[in-house]
């Protein structure tokens, strides 16, 4: 029976596969074609996953060898610097492997892993909505300028400070301030003071012009940096608390939520629901992580209504494990234990109703069903996964 940490890890791997497919890796999971994919945080996440899925790591390595010049070494360095020693080590191996097969040199490279590049046709073009970051870099070059512009396009009308953009883009505040000042001198951003802070805004005409150049634009711009930090740390947390006993599980889970409060806020994920003092917070957190990763793996952005619609409340469930999957309501069917069919599973319909079985009322739900079949999440698999939580 898989452990909760293994379930979460597998779901993060599935999400990573779909995101890499969005960047152009040949993959069977493809739910992020219309969602902006942020390449550097995805590289760090993939490195952090280590051997969880060697094929994913190899495909990502292969892509980086071909297109890694479109990625920013300094951004990778900043992202990795904020992670623990284990992630830094794994990234070091990943970067060294890419360096061994290309001219790409990323900071922090250590010892290369065994890897054999496979002959593959190159992508025709970075023409999917998910590849907007790569298209923008093709236009203005790899560096802070491209990511600053992307932040403006992701949230048009928002005026950012240099500090805001440093957090958004994972470049240093100094670097961002220099970029903003040069853009201001060139007339590409408008600067104005708000209290003691200078804020910058991209003029509407330039936003329209850039969108025209960069189309097709993605439907959503999830904030992958905090999302990936939460998910990767969540896997490690679950591994740890599976070894612990008594109140330690609850305490570590609560400490995790406190330590990631800012990441949860900036990722726009609905926060885990509080529990009474002394109560076990770990089961709430496990459910929360699994619901979050399910939604994200399906290509939903926390800022979208469709994400919130699939954020199923726990009330009325017969088991706290019941919301371990975002798309499904799962409950212990009364009187069915003897037959062994312990769990009843239903897909949540558009209206929030539960459509049991495989019949769906709308085209959207039917599409979702097909996606879920691709994920090999059959009834038995889900029941086993949830029973293991």
């Amino acid at each position: 029976m898989p452990k909760a940490s293994e379930i979460l890890r597998d779901r993060v791997v599935e999400a990573a596969w779909s995101l890499w497919t969005g960047l152009g890796v040949p993959g069977r999971l493809d739910f992020h074609g219309e969602v902006a994919v942020d390449p550097e945080p995805l590289v760090v996440l993939t490195a952090a996953l280590g051997d969880a899925d060697p094929r994913l790591r190899d495909e990502a390595t292969d892509w980086c060898i071909r297109y890694g010049a479109a990625l920013s070494g300094s951004r990778l360095k900043n992202l990795v610097a904020k992670r623990d020693e284990r992630v830094r080590e794994r990234f070091g191996g990943f970067a060294a492997t890419i360096a061994a097969h290309s001219s790409i040199r990323w900071p922090g490279a250590t010892g290369a892993q065994r890897f054999k590049p496979r002959p593959r046709p190159r992508n025709g073009a970075f023409d999917r909505p998910s590849q907007v970051a790569l298209r923008l870099r093709a236009l203005v070059g790899v560096g802070a300028r491209a990511d600053v512009l992307l932040s403006f396009l992701a949230q048009p009308g928002i005026a950012f400070s240099a500090a805001d953009l440093a957090v958004e883009t994972n470049y240093s505040k100094r670097n961002i301030a220099q970029v903003l000042e040069s853009m201001r001198l060139g007339g590409f951003v408008v600067a104005f003071s708000v209290r003691n802070q200078i804020r910058y805004r991209l003029p509407g005409a330039l936003v329209d012009q850039l969108i025209g150049q960069l189309s097709p634009m993605p439907r959503a711009f999830p904030r992958w940096t905090p999302i990936f930090r939460i998910l990767a740390s969540g896997i490690e947390l679950l591994k740890e608390i599976e070894k612990s006993r008594g109140s330690t599980r609850a305490i570590e889970a609560r400490a995790f939520a406190a330590a990631h409060r800012e990441d949860i806020r900036t990722s726009r994920l609905p926060p885990p629901r509080p529990v009474a003092p002394g109560s076990d917070f770990s089961s709430e957190l496990v459910s929360w992580l699994l619901v979050a990763v399910d939604n994200l793996a399906a290509g939903n952005d926390p800022a979208e209504d469709r994400f919130k619609a699939r954020w199923v409340p726990k009330d009325g469930m017969t088991s706290e494990l019941a919301m371990a999957r975002g798309h499904f309501r799962v409950w212990e069917a009364p009187g069915s234990r003897s037959s062994g069919a312990r769990w009843a599973i239903g897909l949540i319909g558009k209206s929030g109703d539960i459509d049991e079985g495989v019949r769906y009322a709308t085209a959207e739900d039917a599409k979702k069903s097909a996606e879920l079949k691709q994920l090999s999440l059959d009834r038995t698999g889900i029941a086993a996964r949830i029973a293991a939580v």
Binding site: E240, R245, S247, T248, I251, R254, A255, G278
Partner: protein
């Protein structure tokens, strides 16, 4: 359990298990109302546990600055149980500066919670600490009640007064300690002796 009514056993068990899980071990010397409650000397609600010293390799060390691993674990337990962050504090750590009562170590009562070892000050040492606190805070303080509950003998109070004067040799403290002894019915002449 609330911040006003701390369940010491639950809180220390949670802390000890957490420290063990995180690979840390600490030995604390504790006194005050929390220690008295754990020993069953008092039943009043107590909101904190006072650390007098840390013990490492059989030696007492200052607890004025607690190790960061202990502070982090303490705060995490506080968040879990809904306690104030200072539920475990080193308020009386300065007691170590001028020395603990002679024979303190031999009277300690040791409890273990995971990798957390707690040495509770013995009854006589609590009399010394409570006498010192009672003189310092005055006859209306909770320390006077705690001291009364410990039912100290005259001899014990005299030794406690002598020890307390070692911590504060000022004439004012001497006078107040004489008054405190009088409050507990110990003869002035004996106090001077």
């Amino acid at each position: 359990m609330t911040a006003e009514n701390l369940d010491f056993e639950q809180a220390l068990e949670a802390l000890g298990e957490l420290l063990e899980h995180r690979g840390h071990a600490f030995e604390l010397v504790i006194a005050g109302g929390g220690a008295l409650a754990m020993l069953g000397h008092i039943v009043r609600s107590t909101k904190d546990i006072d650390i007098v010293a840390l013990s490492r390799n059989g030696r007492f060390e200052s607890a004025k600055t607690l190790p960061p691993e202990l502070v982090r674990a303490r705060d995490d337990v506080a968040a879990h149980l809904g306690l104030a962050r200072d539920w475990l504090n080193s308020g009386p750590a300065e007691l170590l500066d001028h020395g603990l009562p002679a024979g303190f170590e031999a009277r300690m009562i040791t409890r273990r919670f995971g990798t957390l070892t707690v040495h509770l000050a013995g009854r006589f040492d609590q009399i010394c600490f409570k006498f010192y606190a009672a003189v310092d805070r005055g006859p209306q303080s909770k320390h006077v009640d705690d001291l009364r509950r410990l039912s100290p003998t005259s001899e014990e109070l005299l030794v406690a007064a002598s020890w307390a004067r070692g911590h504060d040799p000022s004439p004012e403290f001497l006078e107040m300690s004489r008054q405190a002894l009088g409050f507990f019915g110990v003869e002035e002449s004996r106090a001077e002796g």
